[in-house]
């Protein structure tokens, strides 16, 4: 009898705990290891990271060029090294708005944006964004001008995509920290303007 067949009817939380216990008993993991990992995840993986990179790119043309040509090197400059994926950053312009999806499974640059929101993993987002992005963005309250082009990126490989939003108007005097505070996680996915 496999683990798979044995416990299908248990409430899923209990089923998870049962699997954990068996894996711990087999020496494949420990409670401490799991707790440490999750604590690290919650504290270190956050959209503040992506926002810092966007703000730096707005403030510094050299960094912007690096971010768009070698995302991993740009991330490392701000202390985000060992990403484990190839970071591809795509810039919004007056002509083109970018939006990111993973239709096959929900791949996402967790270390720079934090764990993905539920909607990103939904069948609706995964299926519709490549087909009717304008309608999907409207559901997020984002109404793009009629003549704005939309470029959808489907993350099917070891690359992970992030959007560099356009710098909002009227922000010329702002310090980098204040610029970063303007950048939202949805802006870095493309479901918001910034």
């Amino acid at each position: 009898m496999t683990v798979h067949e044995d416990h299908e009817d248990l409430p899923v939380a209990a089923r998870t705990r049962r699997l954990e216990e068996r894996l711990i008993a087999a020496g494949l993991t420990t409670d401490d290891e799991i707790d440490e990992y999750l604590t690290g995840l919650y504290t270190k993986a956050t959209p503040v990271n992506g926002a810092q990179m966007a703000a730096r790119a707005w403030a510094d043309g050299r960094y912007r060029d690096l971010l768009l040509s070698d995302g991993n090197a740009a991330a490392a400059e701000l202390g985000f090294s060992g990403l484990g994926y190839q970071l591809q950053v795509v810039a919004n312009t007056a002509d083109t708005h970018n939006v990111i999806v993973c239709t096959l499974c929900s791949c996402y640059p967790v270390s720079l944006l934090g764990p993905s929101p539920g909607w990103y993993k939904s069948f609706a987002y995964r299926s519709r964004t490549v087909r009717e992005p304008r309608a999907v963005l409207a559901e997020f309250g984002l109404a793009l001008p009629e003549d704005a082009g939309i470029s959808v990126w489907d993350s099917t490989s070891e690359a992970r995509y992030m959007v560099l939003p356009q710098r909002p108007p009227g922000t010329d005097g702002l310090a980098e920290g204040d610029l970063a505070a303007l950048v939202t996680r949805n802006g870095l996915i493309g479901t918001a303007l910034v």
Binding site: Q86, Q88, G149, I150, V152, D154, T156, E158
Partner: protein, 88 residues
């Protein structure tokens, strides 16, 4: 690297019974290479424990919505391993 940026490439058809990373909606369609990405293990092999797994260049390939869906103004760019692609 086989395909330069700007090259037109056609996505192979076929519905393998093993894991693959070709989305169904681009199979058989022709797009344009935007960029070569890294050289990575082919997921089809890695998922099946094929030893050694093939390592290939992966390309970001752009398709028009009009071509994929028959309507729409947007583009969709998908990352595709080299063996998923042919010249049109």
């Amino acid at each position: 690297m086989t395909y330069q940026a700007g090259t037109r490439v056609r996505v192979r058809t076929g519905d393998p019974d093993h894991h693959t990373r070709v989305p169904r909606y681009v199979r058989g369609h022709t797009g344009e290479v935007v960029a070569a990405l890294g050289r990575w293990t082919l997921p089809d092999d890695s998922a099946r424990g094929v030893e050694p797994p093939r390592v290939e260049t992966c390309y970001a390939v752009r398709f028009s919505a009009a071509d994929l869906w028959g309507s729409g103004e947007h583009t969709v760019t998908v990352d595709l391993w080299e063996s998923y692609l042919d010249r049109p």
